[in-house]
C-alpha cells in the first residue's frame, strides 16, 4: 500500500478524534449521564493504524470495547452507535449494514473465535476480504484465544489476530499473564506467523497489518500481531490506577504518547501545523457532539426490552410483553 500525505494526516486526525471522544465519554460518565466506559488513551495508534490497512468494503473488524472510538475509517456511524452503547441504548449494538464492524464485546476473547468463523465464511464464499480482531493482553490467557489460534491455523483462514498489549489487564501486569517471551511468541504453537510491533507508532502497525492482510488475501492464512503500547489512562471510569501503576513507568510511557510523537513526526515532515491541529481538534469535538446528540435523542419504549430476542417472539414473550405494557400503563 502506498502512503500519501493525506493518509498520514488522516491517521492523525482520526487518532485525535478518538482521544477527544474518549475524554468526552469519560466526563459524561463523571456527570452520571452514561455508564462505565473504558478510555482509549495510548491505544489510538494501534487501532487507527490497523484500520488504515483495511478495506472497509470487504474487511471485517471485530473490536473489544475501546476500539469503536477509533474506527472512523469505517464511517461516523460507528461512533454514533458507540455513544448509544455507552448510554445503554439497545441501538448501540446495532451497527447497520453494510458496515463491516461487530458490536463491542465484553466477554473477553469470545470475539477471537467469531473472527475465525467470519474469516472462514469469507474463504468459503470466495470473498476478497479478511477479518481483523482486536483483543488485549489479558484475553490471551482465555481458552478462546488458544482455541481460535489453533483453529485458524488448521482451517488456514484469512484472519488477523491483533493483540493490544497495553501492559495491564485492569491491575494485572503482563508478567502475571504469561511466562512466555511475549504474546506474539504464542503463534508458534498455532503454526502461524507471529509479529511484534511498536503499537505506539501507527505507521509501524499499518505496515505489519498490511503485510498480514496481503498474506491472508493470497491464501497464506492467519497472522498473530502483538502491538506493544501502553494504557495511559485507567482501565475504566471505575478504576483507580494510582493504586498499582508505577508512577515512573507511566511517566515514561507518556513521553511516547502517540498523539504527541506522531504529531511531531508530521510537523517535521512539514505536513502538520498548529492550524491543522486546531482543525483536527474541532473536527473531533464535532464528531463526538454529533454522536452524542444522535445517541441521546434515540427514542426508547420500555417494552422494547423484548425486541430482537427471536425473529418472531414466542407466546410467552408476547404475553410477558403485553403484561408489562399493561403494568406500565397502570403505573403512569
Amino acid at each position: 500500500m502506498t502512503l500519501h500525505n493525506e493518509d498520514l494526516v488522516g491517521i492523525l486526525c482520526e487518532m485525535t478524534k478518538a482521544r477527544i471522544a474518549s475524554d468526552r465519554l469519560w466526563s459524561l460518565q463523571r456527570q452520571g449521564r452514561i455508564g462505565t466506559i473504558a478510555p482509549i488513551d495510548g491505544q489510538e495508534a494501534t487501532t487507527v493504524g490497523a484500520s488504515w490497512a483495511l478495506d472497509p468494503n470487504y474487511d471485517w473488524v471485530l473490536p473489544q470495547y475501546r476500539e469503536p472510538m477509533a474506527l472512523g475509517r469505517y464511517g461516523p456511524e460507528v461512533l454514533n452507535r458507540f455513544a448509544a452503547w455507552a448510554i445503554g441504548h439497545p441501538a448501540g449494538g446495532h451497527i447497520p449494514e453494510p458496515i463491516r464492524v461487530f458490536p463491542p464485546q465484553i466477554s473477553l476473547a469470545t470475539q477471537i473465535l467469531h473472527a475465525v468463523g467470519l474469516a472462514w465464511s469469507q474463504k468459503l464464499r470466495g470473498e476478497p476480504g479478511v477479518t481483523l480482531v482486536f483483543f488485549g493482553d489479558g484475553s490471551t490467557s482465555e481458552g478462546d484465544f488458544y482455541e481460535a489460534g489453533n483453529l485458524a491455523g488448521v482451517l488456514d483462514v484469512p484472519v488477523i489476530f491483533l493483540c493490544q498489549n497495553n501492559q495491564w489487564a485492569i491491575s494485572t501486569p503482563t508478567r502475571r499473564q504469561t511466562a512466555a517471551a511475549g504474546f506474539a511468541a504464542k503463534a508458534e504453537a498455532f503454526g502461524i506467523p507471529g509479529v511484534t510491533v511498536d503499537g505506539m507508532d501507527p505507521l509501524a502497525v499499518l505496515e505489519v497489518v498490511t503485510e498480514a492482510r496481503y498474506r491472508a488475501l493470497a491464501g497464506k492464512g492467519p497472522t498473530l500481531i502483538e502491538a506493544v503500547n501502553y494504557r495511559l489512562s485507567a482501565h475504566t471510569t471505575a478504576d483507580d490506577p494510582t493504586r498499582y501503576v508505577p508512577e515512573a513507568e507511566l511517566a515514561a510511557a507518556r513521553e511516547r504518547d502517540p498523539l504527541i510523537v506522531f504529531r511531531r513526526q508530521l510537523e517535521d515532515r512539514g505536513i502538520w501545523d498548529r492550524a491543522m491541529q486546531a482543525d483536527a481538534e474541532r473536527a473531533g469535538e464535532q464528531a463526538i457532539d454529533q454522536a452524542w446528540n444522535w445517541a441521546s435523542n434515540l427514542p426508547l419504549q420500555q417494552p422494547d426490552l423484548f425486541d430482537h430476542v427471536f425473529a418472531t417472539p414466542n407466546q410467552r414473550q408476547r404475553q410477558q410483553r403485553s403484561e408489562l405494557e399493561t403494568y406500565l400503563r397502570g403505573d403512569q
Binding site: H94, I95, L113, V116, L118, W120, N150, D307, F310, R316
Partner: protein, 338 residues
Amino acid sequence: MSDQSTPVERDEQTLTMVTAINQTLAAEMQRDDRVVVFGQDVALSGGVFRATEGLVEKFGNDRVVDMPLAEAAILGSAVGLAAGGMIPVPEIQFLGFSYQAMHQLAGQVARFRYRSQGRFPMGITIRSPFGGGVRTPELHSDSLEGQLCNIAGLKVVTPATAADAKGLLTEAIRDPDPVIFLEPLRGYRGIKGPVPGGEYRVPFGQARWAVPGDDLTIITWSYQVEVATRVARRFAEQGISVGVLDLRTLVPLDIASIVTAVERTGRVIVLEEAAPTGGYAAEIIATINEHAFYSLEAPPTRVSGFDTPYPVGMLEDTYVPDVRRVEAAVNSLLRAAP
C-alpha cells in the same frame, strides 16, 4: 396440536432415528449450499453415531468439516459463520461436553441477535446427543435441557420419533434463530418408525398426543415419550386411559396443549430424565398452575432423575426413570384424593 393420524406420503420409509437425521442433513445440504456441517469426527468417520455418515463424500471437505477437539471453537466459529451468511449446523459430540462451550452458547450464540438488535441473526442448529441408558463414560449422558431452556434466545428441540427427527431438524435448519437439537442416545437406533418422504416439516411449539388419554396425562419429551408410551399401554390393558403428551419442543412451549391435557384428564405427571431441582418439569408445573390450576383434580407431580450428578454405568438404571418408576407414580396419582 396434531395426533398420530397425520396422513403420511406414499414414499414413507421405516427408519431409525439416526438414519432419519442423516437423510435430513443430506437433504438440507442439497437444498441450500450455505449449510455447513462441522464438529468432532463428523467427516472422515461419519460421526461417532454415524449421524453424518456419507456427507463428506457427497458434499466435500469444505462443507463437512472435522474440527479440532474444542467445543468453544465449534460454537464460537459458528457465530462468525452465521454472521458471514452461512447456515452452520455444528455438532457437540455429547451434550455434557457443552459445558466447555457454555460461554459461547449462552453468552454469544443465544444473544447475538439481541445484542446487535437484529443485525446478526444466528441461524445455527446445534445437534447434540444426550440422555441416559447406553452406559457411556461420565458426562456423556447428562440431560441439560432445563439449563438450556433458561437461556433466553435459544430454542430447545427434543424429538421423540424418527418422523419428528426429520420434521423438526428440517425446521431447525431453516429457522432464523439458534436451535439446540437434542438427540436421545437410546433413540438413535432404539427408536424406529415411519418417516414421510419428500419435504416434511414439523412446526415448533406444537405438542403431539403420542397416546390420547382421559384419566391421566404424562407430559414428557424425547426418549421418555417411549417409556411413557409403554406405561400407557400397560394401563390400557387394565382399562385405565393414560395419555402421553409429547412436547416436541421445550422452547417454544405449547402451552395450549398442556392446558388441554389438564382439562381433559385433571391429573398430570411431568416426566423428565434430568435432576428435578430447577428443572424443566418444575417449569411445566408452574405453567399448569398459571393456566389450568382450577382444572386439576390432584396436585401435578413429576418423575425425574435425582439431585445427584448423572451417575456411572452401574447406577444409571436407578437414576433414569423407567417403566416401573413411572407406573408407581401413575398409580399413586390415580389414587390421590383431597
